[in-house]
Amino acid sequence: MSMDVAALGRWGIDSLRELGRAGLLLLRVVFRLPDFKKGFPLVMQQVYAEGVLSLLIIVVSGLFIGMVVALQGYHTLVKFGAAQQLGPLVALSVTRELGPVVTALLFAGRAGSAVTAEIGLMKATEQLSSMEMMAVDPLRRVIAPRLWGGFISMPLLAIIFNTVAIYGAYLVGVKWLGLDAGAFWSNMQTSVDFHLDVINGLIKSVVFGLVIVWIALYQGYYAEPTSAGIANATTRTVVYSSLATLGLDFVLTAMMIGGW
């Protein structure tokens, strides 16, 4: 029994220590801004690697999720004779929840894992050490651009996801199921509020983006420099950032709706 308590305590202290280490990493990265001329191309490269290369999976998933929500929603709404409300149903669920959350989950799987594996391998092959010995700070040269890249890419991806998903719903609702296009859009416009729905959704996605890249960078930077260590770190990135996304989503939604 006392052993269990001790183990629990050790686990607690270890977790706390890990959180502290991750916090320090974030602080060191955020407050050591790269100078603009050198940093800008690096951030661009990361926006490309994390954003542009994630675009395909985001667009395809967005299209299908929009179509499925429209199909499911239509068959439920039609029972109440409220098929005209399909537009609002899709637009609200996509802009408020599905857009930011699904984009974040896909982003964690696509870009987060890649970042962890890349940093972990750079560490294992002594690239980070040799950079340090060349008097180049890896936090500034390698870690910071990835953080800003994710920070910029994530909301852009979420915006694109939202639009594509709503268009997918339009395809199913209007083109296939034969709803009136005018009613579809005008009902959507009266019930979706730009600030409350669209902007709040994007605020969420900014937070998710930051947290996911942070987790990915931390896991990569402190990965055990072996094949198994990097594999574990990559898995942890996906698991932790998915859980963090869902947990934070609840907190943020409660804050936005409940007016904390």
């Binding site: 191309p41 661009m44 490269q45 926006v47 490309y48 954003g51 542009v52 675009l55 109440f80 004779g81 409220a82 005209q84 409300q85 637009a91 802009t95 852009l156 991806l157 915006i159 694109i160 939202n162 639009t163 594509v164 709503i166 859009w185 005008s186 009902n187 959507m188 416009q189 009266t190 019930s191 979706v192 509020d193 730009f194 729905d197 669209v198």
Partner: protein, 189 residues
């Protein structure tokens, strides 16, 4: 490895796509108009009951969108709802004796204000008040009346004439409670 130029072009396209998507979200999806608000003038109407009317609900005339509700407040003296609506300046010759109705789009749709034009030669202008208003139909009240009417019809045998239906809401108010008891009893059976 891609050259920096290629990468930057792709990122530029990505940004452009995202901006266009944001435009779609703003104007097509959320119908945001406040960035480029069309010129409009404000008209006030007071209602006893506005139902589900919200800020930004549409204002229509003959089914055509001519404006939207800009604010809803409660008058502390008369306890009436004060509804302000912005009407597109293109429709600047609406007779000032027109009436405002709160209607519902479909059975479960949202409320909107329908203006019905009359014949006055003076027109509504900014700050005018529409005097002739009709409150929203509240579904619960209508159902209540319906049930009451059906109840009244079966208990007092001779009351199936059309005149009864037309002034049902006035004449039956007096023994409202009795009938309600009646209805409940029947439901229990």
């Amino acid at each position: 490895m891609l050259s920096q130029r290629t990468i930057e072009s792709f990122v530029g396209l990505f940004l452009l796509a995202a901006m266009m998507a944001l435009m779609v979200l703003a104007f097509k999806v959320s119908g945001l108009t406040s960035f480029f608000k069309p010129k409009s003038y404000t008209v006030i109407a007071m209602f006893d009951e506005i139902g589900q009317l919200k800020v930004r609900s549409p204002v229509k005339m003959g089914g055509v969108l001519i404006g939207e509700v800009s604010s809803i407040t409660l008058d502390p003296q008369s306890f009436k709802a004060i509804v302000k609506m912005d009407i597109d300046h293109r429709f600047n010759e609406i007779p000032d004796d027109s009436s405002a109705n709160i209607l519902t789009a479909g059975l479960l749709g949202d409320n909107y204000i329908a203006l019905t034009p009359m014949y006055s030669q003076t027109f509504l202008k900014s700050g005018s008040t529409i005097e002739d208003t009709h409150s929203a139909m509240i579904l619960e009240k209508m159902i209540g009346q319906l049930i009451y009417k059906l109840g009244g019809g079966s208990s007092s045998k001779a009351s199936t004439t059309t005149s009864n239906t037309s002034n049902a809401s006035d004449s039956n108010k007096i023994d409202d409670s009795n009938h309600n008891v009646d209805t409940q009893k029947r439901i229990q059976k």
